[in-house]
């Protein structure tokens, strides 16, 4: 078991013929991912990497069932690509590109509202259930099948989280990079909820960072969950000088609640185990005695 994607998930790749997409999709297929089709605006028939390629998502879903889509399209094409996935009713979309305009994200969030689609990212290494589904660009050799769910808002620190769970001898059920951007498709809350219901997951590692308020929301919904599994939380950026780059407006908006210290306090009050350094995570996991 896992959340969001496993070996049965039928995966579409939007923008499959690109150089980076080709490199990573081949690795995903080799790792066991059930890639069934791709799209490319300039490649309206034929095959690539052994799967059929369609002009758009609508054409693909007409021809075969699709459960999830990975978007390897460039940042400026992400809005249109998400629109295609939403309109075709694809349940899960994962967008990798870095540099999607913030206003595009405002429009994307409006599209997602009331739709069937959950968007992970953008600006993320993606999501991965080890040996079953690699939807993105994770270094698959670092991941090991196991019992820890990871949700991270700092792409590169996701790997630190993976290495820490490996060091604890536990491995991962599913690893999800939410994306580093100011506005992201999905926040911690729905994923925490899914991990709590997932049989394979015994505990969760949550990795947050200094900007925005996503960790505060995570604390709020975790506190309300009826069935809780342990969550080890880390928030990066406590040494950042608190200087606003956006004038008074940004300071006003945050209600004075952006410091890493404040986030840690709130997460801890919600019942999570908060660690001060990334490399304390493996010990915190070991202290849970999950293998006993």
């Amino acid at each position: 078991m896992s959340i969001l994607a496993d070996k049965n998930t039928r995966v579409l790749v939007q923008g499959i013929t690109g150089i980076q997409a080709s490199f990573h999709v081949k690795r995903s297929i080799d790792n066991g991912t059930n890639v069934v089709a791709g799209t490319s605006p300039n490649y309206t028939q034929g095959e690539h990497l052994g799967v059929p390629v369609f002009a758009n998502v609508r054409e693909a879903v007409k021809n075969m069932p699709i459960d999830a889509s990975v978007l390897f399209v460039p940042a400026r094409a992400v809005k249109q690509a998400v629109r295609e996935a939403v309109e075709a009713g694809v349940k899960l979309a994962v967008s990798i590109a870095q540099g999607v305009p913030v206003h595009d994200m405002l429009e994307i969030k409006a599209m997602l509202k009331g739709s069937q689609t959950m968007l992970i990212g953008p600006n993320t290494p993606g999501l991965m259930t080890p040996n079953e589904a690699r939807l993105g660009i994770f270094s698959e050799d670092l991941l090991h099948q196991g019992s820890i769910g990871i949700i991270s808002r700092a792409s590169t620190l996701t790997y630190e989280g993976i290495l820490e769970t490996n060091a604890a001898g536990l491995g991962q059920s599913t690893v999800i990079g939410l994306g580093d951007d100011m506005i992201i498709g999905t926040d911690f809350c729905p994923l925490l909820e899914k991990f709590m219901e997932d049989d394979a997951t015994k505990a969760v590692v949550l990795i947050g960072k200094a900007d925005n308020a996503y960790e505060l929301q995570a604390a709020e919904c975790y506190a309300k969950l009826p069935h809780k599994k342990p969550v080890i939380a880390f928030v990066a950026g406590e040494s950042l000088p608190f200087a606003s780059t956006m004038g008074y407006a940004a300071d006003i908006l945050t209600h004075g609640l952006t410091s890493v210290q404040d986030k840690k306090k709130v997460l801890s009050a919600a019942g999570m185990t908060v660690v001060d350094r990334m490399n304390y995570i493996h010990q915190a996991l070991a202290d849970l005695h999950l293998n006993d």
Binding site: I137, T156, Q217, Y248, A249
Partner: protein
């Protein structure tokens, strides 16, 4: 990306928002000429154009004894050139510039406007909604900051629709909040909707008008203006991109940006090269926890070009504050051997005379280590972030 006040006002004027008559001056003589052109009798406002706030309460390094700041009101035309000359070519320090201050190379000369009322207006994106949010406050200037926590009733926050104009009932809420009667509705409707359209059309991340002036005829005037644009959307706005003032940025920051990297400088002595924002934050936190500080952090992101990576490493190596270098590369997109090639190319050009600790984890890491070992450069390897920083500090303490 930030722009200057005079540029922001040009943009607002293009969108139909009223701003005082004004012009830019690079010399005192030019300032006098502009002043005469825009107003026969004055008074005039002289405003130093630097991209930092709190100019009024700032001071000039060169005239530390004279407490006059970067915004001055002049009532007689004969004083315009002199007051301008006091600012041009000098360094303005405000609470937002840091102790180094910023060099003033242009002054905006503006007609002084009598207004009945001042208030603060801003639009920003609230990521937690997510939506554009209009902020209005009766409090102007820096006093606003005192209300950022707690006293929420001093600030009105109104989420705005991305596609639809601001309707009259919301505008009435603004008027109520400011205790203004509904004879002001017309002026407010015009001003706030034009401000909203400016924000949406130009991919702005933040617009601040601090303050807005309300005239006797109930018109709204932008007396100051600050706009920040989304760098990722500038491809849609080449005209905005051309407004970029290279002199506003530190040369090393600018150089990093040209290579597609993110680079920031701090007060410490350790230079960090990482491939993600999270890793930079983690490195800084760990360095601080061991009693040291970071000099600079270069995020090469998913860079795939060896030459650009070499450029990036050179930026760190030429920062005089740097007494030790941490290279921490982790995971997926970036191939470790490119980092190794970049290190070698950079050291061949500028040498390596400070300790360097390298931690590589991910695609092609073994190949990268082999390449670096063959160079005989004094590079030490580490297995994780914590160990890397410990080893680096140990070496730096020996050098002390």
């Amino acid at each position: 990306m930030n722009i200057h006040e005079y540029q922001a006002k040009q943009i607002l004027a293009q969108y139909g928002i009223e701003v005082p008559a004004g012009g830019i001056a690079y010399t005192p003589t030019e300032a006098k000429r502009v002043a005469q052109k825009i107003s026969a009798r004055g008074p005039w406002m002289l405003k130093a154009q630097i991209q930092a706030g709190a100019r009024h309460s700032g001071y000039f390094l060169e005239h530390a004894a004279n407490s006059k700041g970067g915004i001055r009101q002049v009532t007689q035309i004969k004083n315009v050139a002199y007051e301008t000359s006091q600012m041009l070519g000098n360094t303005l320090v405000t609470e937002q510039t840091g102790a180094k201050g910023k060099l003033v190379s242009k002054v905006y000369v503006e007609a002084f406007k009598h207004v009945k009322r001042l208030f603060y207006a801003g639009i920003i994106i609230d990521s937690s909604l997510p939506a554009m949010v209009l902020l209005v406050s009766d409090v102007v200037d820096r006093d606003l900051l005192d209300f950022k926590t707690g006293e929420d009733d001093k600030i009105l926050r109104l989420p705005l629709s991305y596609n639809e104009p601001i309707n009259d009932s919301r505008l009435m809420r603004i008027l109520d909040f400011l205790s203004l009667d509904k004879t002001h509705l017309e002026g407010f409707r015009e001003f706030f909707n034009k401000l909203r359209v400016t924000f949406v059309n130009l991919d702005a991340q933040m617009i601040e008008i601090n303050p807005v002036g309300v005239t006797r005829t109930k018109k709204l005037l932008a007396l100051d203006a600050k706009i920040n644009f989304d760098d990722n959307a500038l491809f849609r706005h080449p005209d905005i991109w051309r407004m970029h003032d290279d002199y506003e940025e530190e040369p090393r920051v600018l150089k990093a940006k040209r290579n597609g990297f993110h680079y920031a400088e701090f007060d410490g002595n350790i230079g960090c090269i990482v491939n993600g924002e999270g890793l930079a934050l983690e490195a800084m936190d760990v360095i601080r926890s061991k009693g040291w500080n970071t000099a600079c952090a270069l995020n090469v992101k998913g860079g795939v070009d060896k030459d650009k990576i070499a450029q990036g490493i050179k930026i760190i190596m030429t920062n005089p504050r740097v007494e030790g270098i941490l290279i921490n590369i982790l995971g997926g997109f970036l191939r470790c051997n490119l980092i190794a090639d970049g290190i070698i190319a950079a050291t061949q050009e500028v040498g390596l005379n400070v300790p360097m600790i390298v931690r590589l984890e991910g695609t092609n890491k073994d190949e990268a280590r082999t390449i670096l070992r063959q160079t005989n450069l004094p590079i030490v390897f580490a297995e994780n972030t914590n160990e890397a920083i410990d080893k680096l500090i140990e070496k730096m303490e020996i050098n002390d």
